[in-house]
Point group: none
Chain length 210, copies 4
DNA sequence: AATGAATGAGCATTCATTCAT
DNA sequence: AATGAATGAATGCTCATTCAT
């Protein structure tokens, strides 16, 4: 019925509302520093209400991760599927995709990277942590595919595509965290993009067959 | 004189003792999970005693960072100063240096990387955050120098050496964190070194002239 | 008319439904451990609906008490009214009546006994606590009457019948709780009935004239 | 050393202080109604301090139980060991002992009885719950011994002494709870003792041979 | 120098209850 | 009549930190 649908839609909107608030708060205070009350306030709900939509703080945080990962996946898969681009261009398109994910929500990307740590999030439901695991596989897979294609075309050196994907991802993650650390030390301006471009150029050259 | 020195030496020893304990505890429980009492127990001191040697938990943690950073610096500077190696070899020596830092104390490297965030760094005393800033500059500088030398010798493409240094460092950091995350998800085995080698090989090829 | 009656009947049925659910839930989790949501789920209603039939959790619980007390009263009065039995037999019939009340719903008898405490009773609405008071009077009265009759017949010693009634009731209550406690400690088997029989035999002998 | 001893003594005093406060608060609000903060206030400590002396609320409460049970045991064993009394007198001495335990702290006896329920106290350490179990055995054993002695002397009927002990204990517990319930309903005065005396007289007569 | 003792300030989470629909 | 949604108000418990001794 239309009424059922509307209810469900409203429910999703409120969930979204809470996630948006959480994003802001986690971004400004970090996971440990943010309290459920902070988030509730920001979302203009009572703390108890948060628990109607998320089982606990860990799951709320993880849902943010998931959202970011899904965004990442769709962008990276987009690049993977642009089969018409020459390999070099695709590496640059990958750079762009990663950077866009970062731009979407810089602080939260940092948080996700920092907290996606072994066992740090203790009370995740199996489903959620399964989904996160799955997403992680998926974007690594997409990057690997993209690279594999270049190998197939004879453009790239033939090395383990998943390792390669992890390297690309690590550069991204490492640079993002490095940027955050530097700003913690220096209040400098954001130099992520040029460095990321440079990095992927080097990588690109590095795997190009002669 | 002698007596003063001895006292100071003893003081340093106890400091060391505490740092060793802290390293263990932070490594196994993370920063947030570790309590000052846990650390005190491990160090066989009372919690109050810790505060005679470290202003607070953050600074104790940061001191650990510092130790790791100093280790890192000395190793990287060692590589920089081996002027006789050909550029390619030096990049591999750099890889080795980074990996040794990791091996020295994997869990703590992870912790350092995860927690050196904007928010946390700002809460440190000016001296300590100054020292950390200085160390960060120093190892980045050392890597940059090492690379610069290659440029000077005409072996490497001429790009911003500091950016290059950051890229190398980010790969290291990113791979280390990635490894840790993967282990949290999958309990897989440690594949850091081969991936790190591959990464630096690619990077090496990528910056080689012609 | 007929329609009104039907409505009322349906209303009573739903009330009953809720009470049945509550009985189960209180029995398995205790008063403090049971939540209104638990009960609602068991009753297949929404929590809000419970409040259409009971003012609050306390009153819902107390209604259960009342039901048990009414069962108790009718059984005890049944014994009292069996005027043809010789006094000894009537004491044994009383034992049987008490034990049947227990069998009817052991866990709830325990709950009633444990929670009918000063503090809780005072928080009930005057009507409900009045009803409970009345019931308590009634079954004590019935036991007292039963005993009084024995005195009148010259079979029993002449002591305060209400005190006697309270003693009998206390033995029952005490043994039931003791049984429950023991099971909490030892997981032993249910020895209530033989002990209850023994107790009433002793009591019986104790009040028999010579 | 004297200094060690003094410290230990002080520690015990503070523990005692907390237990006294807890006793008051539990007595007036019941277990569920009392908060750790209430107790802390009454004890003139901070809530956190309570946790230096008791692992959690359950254990604090159970420690009170233990104290009461130990008092009970020592009194009942006292009666058991007065071998010179004739059986009837010893039953009355038992009555006195039980009543004294009650007088020592009426409200808490009620609480102990109400909450010594299967599984109600969830987070007890095995030691503590073991001690409680042991105490329960001990006082039942003592009453049983006392009765057994009467059997041996040929004064009492020969029935299962432990069952007998449980009956006596149940009468006591039942009357105490009944008293509390009545006061919840009526604010009447305390009639426990005469009823308890009567009950034990009846019991006494009931088990006397001929 | 070392610490036993104490605590202030928090914080995630729960749940009985209400009310607009 | 029934309920989905929301929440106010608690509360047990933790921990970094201090300080008298």
């Amino acid at each position: 019925m239309g009424i059922e649908e509307r209810k469900e839609r409203e429910r999703q909107m409120r969930r979204q509302q809470i996630m948006d608030a959480a994003k802001k708060v986690f971004a400004s205070k970090g996971f440990g520093g943010a309290t459920m009350e902070n988030i509730a306030e920001e979302a203009e709900f009572s703390p108890a209400t948060l628990y109607l939509y998320f089982k606990n703080k860990d799951e709320l945080f993880a849902s943010l991760n998931l959202r970011m990962l899904q965004d990442l996946i769709s962008r990276v898969e987009g690049v993977r599927d642009q089969k018409d681009l020459v390999p070099e261009k695709r590496i640059m398109a990958l750079e762009k995709a990663l950077y866009e994910v970062y731009l979407e929500d810089p602080l939260n990307v940092v948080n996700v990277l920092r907290f996606q740590s072994r066992g740090r999030l203790k009370s995740l439901s199996p489903e959620l942590s399964g989904q996160i695991r799955e997403c992680t596989r998926q974007y690594i897979r997409a990057i690997a595919d993209l690279f594999q294609e270049g190998v197939r075309q004879g453009a790239f050196l033939d090395c383990h595509p998943v390792a390669f994907a992890e390297i690309v991802w690590s550069i991204f993650a490492g640079l993002v965290l490095n940027e955050d650390t530097k700003r913690g030390l220096d209040e400098g301006k954001d130099l992520l993009e040029p460095t990321l471009i440079l990095a992927l150029e080097i990588i690109g050259r590095g795997i190009m067959k002669n």
